[in-house]
């Protein structure tokens, strides 16, 4: 389980997270939604051990994130792979660090995402790089999968491929997937549980299905409503 307990984080004059408390349980696809600058990426980086809270604490299975890096498969928003790597070299690198690397899954996904191992990271398109990042992240059988803006700046066809990869691979009750994005439309049908964040605080949260039924709105509309109230 991932827990945020009264977590605060400030960058200069900006309050990125403000007394944020939440829990991510096992075996679900969780959406962390909010506009740009809401604090989603900060929260994701905290789970990955790349940021530390100023106050409160974050725990991954009862441990500090920097001690549980091996449990987290993290896909950051930015391109974080070495440009001179081929996909094969990148996979070899990841394989050496993570015992949960699944070669069978990697090989299957290569075909599914139309990728070749000899593709050089610096020579491929942005969409292909996004798919390379995805394959290197989801080829691990890590206890937690974090995807920070996995669809940002990606064309509609590649978006579909990425979402289909997640749907294809997700097994209910096993690896939880936490997706942070401001593009809710694309992942609306994917998520089981949602947290809407604004200015580092949770505005709305709950089961995606229950929210849709009780409010009679889509997740995109619920977000618009929620943020309209916050802004007022």
């Amino acid at each position: 389980m991932i827990e945020f307990d009264q977590v605060g984080k400030r960058f200069g004059s900006i309050q990125a997270l403000d007394q944020l408390s939440l829990q991510f349980g096992p075996g679900k696809i969780i959406g962390l939604f909010g506009p740009n600058g809401a604090g989603k990426s900060t929260a994701m980086k905290m789970i990955a051990g790349l940021n530390q809270p100023d106050s409160g604490h974050v725990l991954v299975d009862g441990q500090k994130p920097r001690h549980s890096r091996v449990k987290i498969a993290f896909l950051p928003e930015i391109d974080h792979l070495y440009g001179w790597w081929t996909l094969k070299q990148a996979a070899d690198f990841m394989r050496s660090f993570y015992a949960d690397w699944d070669d069978r899954k990697y090989t299957e996904l290569l075909g599914f995402l139309n990728l070749r191992e000899d593709m050089k990271i610096s020579k491929i398109s942005k969409g292909q790089r996004a798919k390379c990042k995805l394959i290197l992240t989801v080829s691990r059988r890590a206890p937690y999968l974090l995807l920070d803006e996995p669809l940002s700046g990606i064309d509609i066809l590649t978006r579909e491929e990425i979402i289909n990869t997640l749907i294809r691979d997700f097994r209910e009750g096993e690896q939880p997937i936490i997706i942070s994005t401001h593009e809710i439309n694309d992942v609306e049908s994917l998520v089981d549980e949602v947290f809407f964040i604004d200015q580092g605080r949770i505005v709305v949260s709950g089961s995606a299905e229950e929210l849709r039924i009780t409010q009679g709105l889509s997740l995109v509309e619920i977000m618009k409503e929620a943020f309209r109230h916050v802004q007022q």
Binding site: L50, Q52, D92, F93
Partner: protein, 256 residues
């Protein structure tokens, strides 16, 4: 089942080694050109090739320091720090792999340069000073000379390790500041060098203790060698302290 630390270290090392390919090639090409150029030209007197060899020696000593800045700063400028910091390894391993690359660069470069010098020396200088060859043989078999050269080499190596650790420490300290990271790095680097110099001076292990002229005049090379070893030890101790500090800050304080 967990993956072996050695395997992880090897992967990090090979990745970092790739990052300094250009610097390694510069040295290799320079040495090869000088060696071939002077070997082919029979008219060149031996002192003429000593100058470019010494220039290359300076380059071999200087490039690892430049690489130490490049290796770390590139992780941030290319965003690969997101990958590296997510890995299930400590900051000490990340920095040690980079240090190993810098040592490879230095040791490889000096060995290559030594080999080139030996080849030129063997083919040219021996012919040039053939009448004095017996004296030269005596010199080559002199264990004191070998010991002195070794002491100089190790002192150079220790100083380089110290400089690279200072570079790592100052860059990581610089990354603690969101703004003016470069300025903080530069100030920390200079300040650490000055402070280290003062500290070594106070401990009596500074390089100022090594006075070649005095040693030569007194003929006491033992004191020279001892001073060099003492100085090396001082620099290595400081390097270890700076390395540990850099690794601790990397693990506990560094954020993206």
């Amino acid at each position: 089942m967990s993956n072996s630390k050695l395997k992880m270290f090897t992967k990090l090392y090979l990745k970092d080694l790739h990052e300094v390919t250009a610097e390694i090639l510069i040295v290799v090409i320079g040495v090869v050109l000088v060696t071939i150029g002077f070997s082919l030209d029979s008219e060149v007197p031996p002192p003429a090739f000593l100058f470019p060899l010494f220039l290359l020696l300076g380059l071999v000593g200087f490039l690892p320091l430049l690489s130490s800045f490049k290796l770390l700063s590139r992780e941030w400028s290319h965003n690969t720090v997101y990958l590296v910091m997510s890995l299930p390894v400590s900051g000490a391993m990340i920095l040690a792999s980079k240090m190993m690359v810098l040592l490879t660069q230095y040791v490889g470069g000096t060995l290559l340069l030594g080999l080139s010098g030996y080849l030129l020396f063997a083919t040219k200088l021996f012919q040039y000073i053939a009448p004095y060859q017996p004296d030269l043989a005596v010199l080559a078999n002199n264990p004191e000379l070998v010991s002195n050269l070794l002491a100089f080499y190790l002192a150079g190596l220790a100083f380089l390790v110290f400089l690279c650790c200072t570079s790592f420490f100052s860059q990581i300290a610089g990354r603690l500041s969101a703004k003016f990271s470069g300025l903080v790095t530069a100030v920390t680097f200079v300040f650490t060098l000055i402070l280290s110099g003062k500290l070594l001076e106070a401990l009596g292990t500074g390089s100022h203790e090594v006075n070649l002229v005095m040693v030569r005049m007194s003929g006491n090379t033992d004191s020279l060698v001892n001073s060099l070893y003492l100085s090396s030890l001082g620099y290595l101790l400081l390097a270890i302290i700076l390395f540990i500090l850099a690794a601790v800050i990397y693990d506990r304080k560094l954020e993206l």
